[in-house]
Symmetry: C2
Subunit: 235 residues, 2 copies
């Protein structure tokens, strides 16, 4: 496998960082190639703006996705975006490794998504969900959070974690065509013992070792919808 | 009403900006007080980091929420955070005004959430959902998106928009105790006629004029759960 790990945590000694390091070690130990984008260490700029394009189709009015399409075609994307896009296109497996902030990714990682998942390459027109531009790649979301496991699920106070993650898992990763694996979740991390953290590390190592055999989650397929994207009657 | 509008769009001439301007004009015309945080114009820093605190409880290991609690108590939050927090606490009504990026807020707005919704003030311990620190305030999410309305809803290709917005509406805004009003949505904005945009402006003006009478959405209440936050049997 060629694995890109995108890591976003402000504390280099964090448990989330230990998960990243374990992933590098485990996957390289299995003979896979691994690249890491450590967004905090890179001082990654998360703000999508006009400065993301070296030339503009319309210099007077910014339509971000339109300029992405042109920039991707003409080599006019900002260097930091092109560099990340190259890593993403190189990889057959993506791991997003982060602490859950507001039931979502930290802003620095949201800005990687906003800027790197370029229109015209990763999606565009009818190229989304199973027809997305990154079809054939796999993605694992590895996250840490403060809440306890019993606070998530049907009837639990926050509802199912997968429902909170819907814009990420379905609206972003499945949208660009990737096979989205069930997330790896380390619960209640700030409050647990060293031994409990060790257990998560063991579980993560096992998960990583079996990654190639993991079954992805199910998401919409375009063949279930008509040309205008209305649902077709089910067979 | 005292209204804070947090606006996040990279194009000052955008339709999303027109919605913001209409909100300012309409609400001020009704005699309400309005402040605007234009995140792009402010060059807002969305990245939560150790630099957000002028003094640290633990200078060697960053636990972000812990430092937020100390910083809020001791006046040790970075000036840009404190300034936004002051506006938020001044307001009784919050409007988040943005284009939907990846079924979520743009990174610059996610970073306003990450940095300004400070632990110890907006939430903390058992102070969340109806017991959240911002209880009594109301919030309206006003968003523009590219998709058509028929692409959202039960059975539609993206499912219900409210499900995609769950980490924002429930996991963030309801979590800090705010009364979350049904979102205002302008569909298919990049592709529609001037006349269709005008119709959205008229609809938004009507919506804003009746804001005080709007009924909030329903979310969990802590009394439905026991001390350990397991659900109680329903009466």
């Amino acid at each position: 496998m060629k694995v890109l790990i995108v890591h976003a945590h402000p504390e280099p000694q964090s448990f989330t960082t230990a998960l990243r390091d374990l992933a590098v070690e485990t996957l390289q130990g299995q003979g896979h190639q691994v690249q890491v984008s450590d967004l905090y260490a890179m001082n990654w700029n998360p703000v999508a703006s006009a400065a993301d394009f070296t030339e503009r189709q319309d210099p007077d009015y910014l339509v971000y996705a339109l300029e992405q399409r042109l920039g991707a075609k003409n080599g006019g994307l900002a260097a930091d975006i092109q560099s990340e896009l190259d890593k993403l296109l190189w990889a057959d497996t993506l791991i997003l490794n982060f602490p859950l902030y507001w039931f979502s990714v930290p802003a620095i990682l949201k800005g990687w998504i906003d800027r790197v998942l370029v229109s015209g390459v990763c999606y565009g027109g009818k190229r989304f969900y199973d027809q997305g531009g990154l079809a054939g790649k796999r993605v694992l979301v590895s996250l840490t959070l403060g809440g306890r496991e019993h606070m998530f699920g049907e009837g639990a106070i926050h509802g199912p974690l997968e429902d909170m993650l819907r814009p990420l898992l379905r609206g972003t990763l499945a949208y660009v065509g990737m096979d989205v694996l069930p997330p790896f979740v380390a619960w209640h991390v700030p409050y647990i013992s060293h031994a409990a953290r060790e257990e998560f590390l063991v579980a993560y190592q096992q998960r990583l070792s079996g990654l190639e055999g993991d079954q992805p989650l199910a998401f919409p397929r375009l063949q279930q919808f008509d040309e205008r994207l209305y649902p077709l009657p089910q067979a």
